[in-house]
Symmetry: C2
């Protein structure tokens, strides 16, 4: 693996940051790198909002489930999926924007994620640590109000970045042969792969917590997909003009 | 900008490839780099299917809108959003999978995009070129059948990679101040920014095509969001167990 691959392989979320501020020029470079990611049909559906106001950051930290690093990180960004801009462009050419296409929702959401991941790599290449904050979808309506987002824009995730004040271990992932398949989807062996990974992850949690945390992947998944998750999302998206058809 | 940022900034889609094959070990490294991307609540919802069968690749090339590089690239991957694996893990712990949550659809789709973008960077760092193939969503039902995808798995996009046999110019993006905002969404100046970008993109197309292509961003957007786009997606996703609630 080359040095870029090694950088990619070294990712872990950072949730404790030093007081060192993140300069505007560096944020600009990070976001420019995001812009260079592929974008479906040149849609460029990403809008990034840098939130500096400490009150706003505290409010978002709280609604995201008391993730205090939203307040304390060197910088905090909100990544939005933005079809309002293309709606404007369409109107400039006399076109009429078609609201609510599920496909537009998908390409906008993917656009944002590709963009953000480039930002993550750029930030980490500059010695910063990052953490995605999906928790802003706990209350996307409040985030929408705080950031004054128009229709056809929704907040996808937050993004903390700053200089790391911790050096956590890299979390192990599923075995490669569980996630990379040949020719077609076959799940022969997946259960064995999951069992193997369960054991590895259990060891990882035990080591990391000095024996306090006793969990594994299948237990995590039971708690994640064995429950309703943010049941407001469907209705919220509709109020913002997404996924109606 | 450091060398990693320069790599990120140098991206352009590659659609012509040499005959040089892409080795299995390199594909393995690329996918491992994908696995290192952040994943929501450790869901790891990405399954990558490498398609080698020439007939299958030709079929997918055709349904993606005659994108022949799907057939000719050194390797072709299909990135799937996979909740079937977490459903299995949930069942291993006696849990009952909750079908159709829009939020699960969102986190799975974002997971796949973050993973794929790491693969893109890894591939480009090794001298490969890549191209995302959103066109597989032209007929996701046929792709699902070809790859034998179970319920709770959908094909998000294809991904060509190989050694480049072309060296296209980098496509300009929207001005930074249009996509990076402070504190809240404000669209003052966005129309000017779009006009400025329209002119830049028109020049880029003229230069690239020797004057044949005369378009700009707002015209592209009128054709993209001023029309229905893949209206089957909503119904298709429901048949696969996604976005029902």
């Amino acid at each position: 693996m080359n040095s870029v691959m090694q950088l990619l392989r070294s990712h872990r979320s950072i949730r404790k940051f030093t007081d060192q501020p993140v300069g505007d020029a560096l944020i600009g470079d990070v976001v420019r790198c995001g812009q260079s990611a592929a974008t479906s049909s040149n849609l460029q559906a990403t809008t990034v909002i840098r939130v500096r106001n400490p009150d706003t950051r505290r409010t978002i930290a709280r609604l995201a489930g008391d993730q205090e690093y939203v307040s304390t990180a060197g910088a905090f960004l909100v990544f939005c999926a933005d079809l309002n801009r293309s709606r404007q462009a369409c109107a400039m050419q006399g076109g009429e924007f078609v609201t609510g296409m599920t496909e537009h929702f998908i390409i906008a959401t993917i656009d944002v994620a590709l963009f953000a991941q480039n930002c993550a790599i750029a930030a980490e290449s500059a010695g910063l640590g990052i953490c995605y904050i999906g928790g802003i979808r706990n209350d996307p309506a409040q985030v929408t109000e705080l950031l004054d987002l128009p229709d056809q824009v929704y907040p996808v995730f937050g993004f903390c970045l700053g200089y790391p004040a911790q050096d956590p271990e890299i979390k192990p992932r599923l075995p490669l042969d569980v996630v990379l398949k040949e020719e077609r989807y076959r799940d022969t062996g997946d259960v064995d792969g999951i069992r193997h990974y369960d054991e590895r992850l259990r060891q990882y949690y035990r080591t990391r917590t000095g024996g306090t945390k006793d969990s594994n992947w299948s237990l995590e998944m039971r708690d994640l997909v064995g429950k309703e998750s943010r049941p407001h999302m469907r209705g919220f998206l509709k109020t913002r003009g997404f996924t109606m058809r």
